[in-house]
């Protein structure tokens, strides 16, 4: 029996190792995209580990059959992090990685904010505050069908300013949607300034708890911890909220925890510095 557990642990460790390697690939893709076009790099990097962990380790989905009915769904409610989603989808095999170069170009399937043109995108976004409601609709549909399909929504912390977020937080609990998981990318920044300067969010955790959500906090760059908390979410009997504490611009020191990377195009020099830093980190890992 203990042998089985050790084997499972070993497999898990290998999976996590592979996941980390793929995250480095995706980070690199993101930096490459940002050298070609102005993108929201900072807020893409802050939620990259979460999206990658979902697609590469947690969700049941089929890149060769994007419309598979029984798949788990992912909604990027903070649609401006589209480059992170696209890079992960390409890495997962939904479309060729070369297509990432077409991001935001006229005629591309990779629109500035997600819509259904890009294979693998489960819901449109770009206008903030709508993802949880859309997720409720999908979670309900799954329940009606008797499906095991689960729904993950990734929202930004700044996005919590939107009133609809709180409408939907009430609804999901009322409906006891235990197949719905909300992850809040708590990077502490929104477009104009630090989140607490623009409009106070704290105490975010107790707000979510008081709305009836089973709430966790996690380091949003620590994939082992993300996996743990996503596992816990599967055993919940109500909707689960995970506050992922993150750094905007994670992995690229000249962007980290600043608003510089809210939307930018990297210069040649910055691009080379970013790639070098990612390579250094990869070597040390």
């Amino acid at each position: 029996m203990s042998g089985t557990i050790e084997l499972a642990d070993l497999k898990h460790a290998t999976d996590v190792q592979k996941l980390k390697e793929r995250i480095r690939q995706v980070q690199r893709s993101l930096v490459e995209m940002t050298s070609a076009m102005g993108v929201h790099l900072g807020s893409s990097l802050s939620c990259l580990e979460v999206i990658a962990t979902l697609y590469f380790l947690k969700m049941r989905h089929a890149p060769h059959r994007p419309q598979w009915r029984e798949r788990d769904r992912f909604i990027l409610s903070k649609g401006h992090a589209a480059p992170a989603l696209y890079a992960v989808l390409a890495e997962a095999g939904y479309f060729p990685k070369e297509e990432l170069r077409t991001l935001k170009r006229i005629g591309s399937r990779l629109q500035g904010h997600p819509d259904l043109r890009a294979p693998g995108v489960d819901a449109p976004s770009g206008s903030l505050g709508q993802g949880i409601s859309i997720g409720i609709g999908m979670a309900l549909a799954a329940k009606m069908r008797g499906s095991r399909s689960r729904v993950y929504v990734l929202a930004g912390d700044g996005e919590c300013d939107e009133g609809q977020v709180w409408e939907s937080l009430m609804t999901a609990v009322h409906l006891r949607l235990d197949n719905l998981v909300l992850i809040i990318d708590r990077n502490g920044w929104q477009l104009d300034d630090r989140t607490e300067e623009v409009k106070r969010k704290v105490p975010l955790r107790s707000k979510l708890e008081s709305f009836g959500w089973e709430t966790y906090s996690v380091n949003g760059h620590d994939v082992e911890k993300i996996v743990e908390v996503l596992d816990a979410a599967e055993r919940a009997e109500q909707p689960v909220a995970i506050i992922a504490h993150t750094k905007k611009g994670k992995g690229i020191s000249f962007l980290e925890d600043s608003n510089k990377g809210h939307k930018l195009k990297l210069s040649e020099e910055e691009y080379l510095a970013a790639i070098k830093e990612l390579e250094m980190t990869a070597k040390c890992a």
Binding site: D115, A123, S125, Q130, I136, G137, M138, A141, E167, T171
Partner: protein, 303 residues
């Protein structure tokens, strides 16, 4: 009209397993409640939260359900941006029904009277917009939007109970209810019955065209009516800006420019009063419509 809508929903519920009805604390006044009682597992009352409702409907549609979201028309418009950015943009299969539209919320006053909804919905790409007026037509239109693919908005009134149609509702089709040669009157909703009363015994020979689908507009019927008569009057329970009258004017200005008289509520908000009083105040009763017909026929250009 809302009673007919409630009956229509129930019939459809029996036939279509994927039909889901959502409402925002107005299950009773919109008559969606009947569906809720018969099919509680396919019914959702989200409380007073129209934006949440509309996006939950979007999520259901993204999972192959056929959601019908029902609210008072003016408050459905609170979720217009959700409709624009999520539903219309991706042409999701969501049906929106606004009840108590136009002046029909009468005594409740301007806050509850929606005189802008047709304009707001018509401007959205992919959106179908229907304004039925006959009791049976409301039922048929409900079926038609549910059975068609893509987003649709249907507006209905509160208490009017008109019966003037023999032909069945068909999406995208305008119906000539009375032929005539002096002036073409285009109308929809309950007001078509006022137009028919106006045409009856009028000193001019008016053609009455019922236009329940505002988008896509039945351009061939509208154009041939305009060509035959050379004068047009549009009558609707909506602002004169942006509604069916605007749609007809846009078409005619490009294809067959003739004078178009738009009757509706001028560029103003409503107020409390009985439905009849309000129609009278905004000159939307048979008497006023008849005057407009005569005037339009008189001013018509001869080609």
């Amino acid at each position: 009209m809302r009673v007919a809508f409630g009956e229509g929903l129930l019939e459809l519920g029996e036939e279509l397993e994927d039909l889901v009805v959502l409402t925002a604390d107005v299950a009773k006044p919109t008559q969606a409640i009947g569906f809720g009682e018969r099919f509680p597992h396919r019914f959702l009352n989200v409380g007073i939260a129209e934006q949440d409702m509309v996006d939950i409907a979007a999520g259901l549609a993204l999972s192959e359900k056929v959601p019908v979201a029902v609210a008072f028309a003016p408050f459905m418009m609170r979720a217009w941006e959700q409709v624009r950015s999520t539903i219309a943009r991706c042409s999701l299969n969501v049906k929106l029904v606004g009840t108590h539209s136009g002046l029909s919320a009468s005594d409740e006053g301007a806050s509850h009277q929606s005189l802008e909804d047709v304009a707001l919905m018509r401007v959205l790409p992919n959106m179908t917009v229907v304004v039925p007026g006959d009791r049976e037509e409301v039922k048929e239109a409900t079926r038609a939007i549910v059975e068609s693919k893509g987003p649709a908005y249907m507006r209905i009134g509160r208490d009017e109970d008109a019966r003037f149609l023999e032909e069945e509702f068909r999406l995208g089709r305008a119906v000539v209810l009375k032929d005539g040669s002096d002036v073409a009157v285009f109308s929809n909703g309950y007001l078509t019955s006022e137009v028919l009363a106006a045409a009856e015994g009028a000193p001019v020979d008016a053609m009455v065209v019922h236009v329940p689908t505002v988008k896509p507009l039945d351009s061939s019927t509208v154009l041939s009516a305009a060509r035959k008569t050379g004068a047009a009057v549009c009558v609707e329970e909506h602002s004169v800006i942006g509604g069916m009258g605007s749609a007809v004017s846009e078409l005619l200005s490009e294809e067959y420019p003739i004078r178009v008289r738009r009757m509706g509520v001028g560029d103003t908000f409503g107020e409390s009063g009985t439905y009849r009083e309000l129609l009278e105040k905004h000159r939307l009763t048979a008497t006023h419509i008849r005057e407009a017909m005569v005037e339009a026929a008189k001013r018509r250009e001869t080609r």
